[in-house]
């Protein structure tokens, strides 16, 4: 009866703490002598082990810790990674298209085009191995230049970046004219 109560206290403490707790500390909290507590916990350890439980108690240098059993790992991996369904959101697609066509390009330039911070999108694309660092721009701060990966090319079955569909040439002419005007303006300053 008394032992049952102590076991419950041990369980509650080890659960809440989540880390290794020294036997002395446990004993002090339960207000019982250390040796009895140690005996009771070792007994619990055996029982947790025998029973088909998902958690166990381990002893580390006179401290005790509650943790999951090793054969639960597969299940835990599944739960820990469920929310991470990899999808290319619109934001990612937009960012990817900018990088593909304007590479090598810095994050700042991407942000200028998109008009919003793009750290998250760029990081995700790097994580997905669609985009990678291709160099550094030699200006103060040495910003990273991003480009697409081989993996990206392979997935579209294209040999090189030149095979990317062109921005239609008429539009390109417009851009060029615009750019020239800008230059002209600059020289006029």
């Amino acid at each position: 009866m008394e032992i049952k109560k102590i076991e419950a206290q041990v369980e509650a403490i080890l659960f809440t703490m989540g880390e290794a707790v020294e036997c002395e500390k446990l004993a002090a909290a339960i207000e019982h002598d250390v040796e009895t507590i140690r005996k009771i916990i070792r007994n619990m350890m055996d029982r947790y082990e025998e029973e088909d439980r998902g958690i166990q108690i381990i002893e580390l240098d006179g401290a005790f810790q509650m943790c999951t059993k090793a054969d639960m790992y597969e299940t835990l991996i599944r739960i820990a990674h469920i929310p991470k369904k990899h999808v290319l959101t619109d934001v990612l697609l937009e960012t990817l298209s900018i990088i593909a066509y304007k590479q090598p390009i810095t994050k700042i330039e991407i942000e200028t085009i998109r008009g919003v911070k793009s750290d998250h999108a760029v990081n995700k694309l790097v994580e997905y191995n669609l985009v990678c660092e291709v160099g550094r721009l030699s200006v103060p701060g040495k910003p990273i230049l991003f480009g697409t990966t081989e993996e990206f090319l392979r997935n579209f079955g294209i040999q090189s970046l030149e095979d990317l569909p062109m921005v239609n040439s008429e539009k390109l002419e417009d851009f060029k004219l615009e750019a020239e005007e800008e230059m002209q303006l600059k020289l006029d300053i």
């Binding site: 509650a12 659960f15 809440t16 989540g18 880390e19 943790c67 999951t68 790992y73 835990l76 991996i77 820990a80 990674h81 991470k84 990899h86 999808v87 290319l88 697609l93 937009e94 990817l96 298209s97 900018i98 593909a100 066509y101 330039e109 085009i113 998109r114 008009g115 994580e127 997905y128 191995n129 669609l130 030699s138 200006v139 103060p140 993996e151 990206f152 997935n155 579209f156 294209i158 990317l164 569909p165 921005v167 239609n168 539009k171 800008e182 303006l185 600059k186 300053i189």
Partner: protein, 255 residues
């Protein structure tokens, strides 16, 4: 009859009214409106009127009370039709009842919270092996819905959006990253200038620059050289000219 109301803080007019009803030991469904209204007025006269927002809410209720009071004082007109005359206090009683109900429920909740606070939770302790486990991202599956023409279309629409967004004035400012002025060259120029002049005016340095872009790049160069410790700057007063001094390191380093 007037009961001294201690200047307690009430959360609002309804709270105060409930307090007065309670204090007078009267029935909420049959409020002696004259007495309560008087006491209510007495209370709000003693209130700190600095908090106008709160004060105005108390005043609105005061007006309501006076309105009810006057209605109740008016002689009842005997109406012939079957329509029953409504007690002018009815709406107020309903509001008070509803408010009282939630006040009561809030005490119930408080008890629940005290009980619940005795249960402790645990932070997540995800084992390292699991945390570090990185699922291979299946790039193929990720790109399965994406075709090159689609990617191209997205890019075009992005660029179009950007063109639409261009500010007619700002867009003429030009962009620094396209500038022909090279920062390294400019820094070299500043260092040479500094070696020659040892101590010089920042304004003078800028006056030698042609155009906005050069000015900006020169400014960036100065910042970079300060960081490198090649020069240091001093400014007596805000908006004053800045004096730049060349830090001669040739002796210490001993070439």
């Amino acid at each position: 009859m007037s009961i001294k109301v201690k200047l307690e803080v009430f959360e609002g007019p309804l709270d105060l009214l409930l307090h007065l009803i309670d204090k007078n030991k009267v029935n909420i469904y049959d409020i002696p409106i004259i007495t309560i209204a008087e006491q209510y007025m007495e209370y709000i006269q003693g209130m700190d009127s600095k908090d106008l927002d709160l004060m105005s809410e108390f005043l609105v209720m005061a007006a309501t009370l006076l309105n009810i009071k006057s209605k109740m004082l008016l002689p009842k007109v005997q109406q012939d039709d079957t329509e029953e005359e409504e007690d002018p206090r009815k709406e107020l009683v309903e509001r008070l009842l509803e408010y009282k109900l939630y006040k009561y429920m809030s005490f119930e909740l408080k008890d629940k919270q005290i009980d619940a606070s005795r249960m402790l939770f645990k932070r997540a302790t995800i084992p390292e092996e699991i945390k570090e486990f990185k699922e291979e991202v299946d790039t193929g599956a990720l790109l399965s819905d994406l075709s090159l023409p689609k990617l191209h279309a997205i890019f075009r629409s992005v660029m179009k959006k950007q063109v639409d967004k261009i500010d007619p004035i700002r867009s003429k400012f030009g962009r620094i990253e396209k500038e022909e002025v090279n920062l390294n060259e400019k820094m070299e120029f500043i260092v040479n200038y500094a070696i020659q002049h040892k101590k010089f005016s920042f304004r003078k340095l800028l006056e030698r620059q042609r155009g906005k872009i050069e000015v900006i790049v020169t400014f960036l160069g100065v910042l970079e050289l300060i960081k490198m410790g090649t020069i240091w700057i001093m400014q007596e007063e805000i908006f004053d000219d800045i004096t730049i001094t060349y830090v001669d390191r040739s002796n210490e380093i001993g070439n």
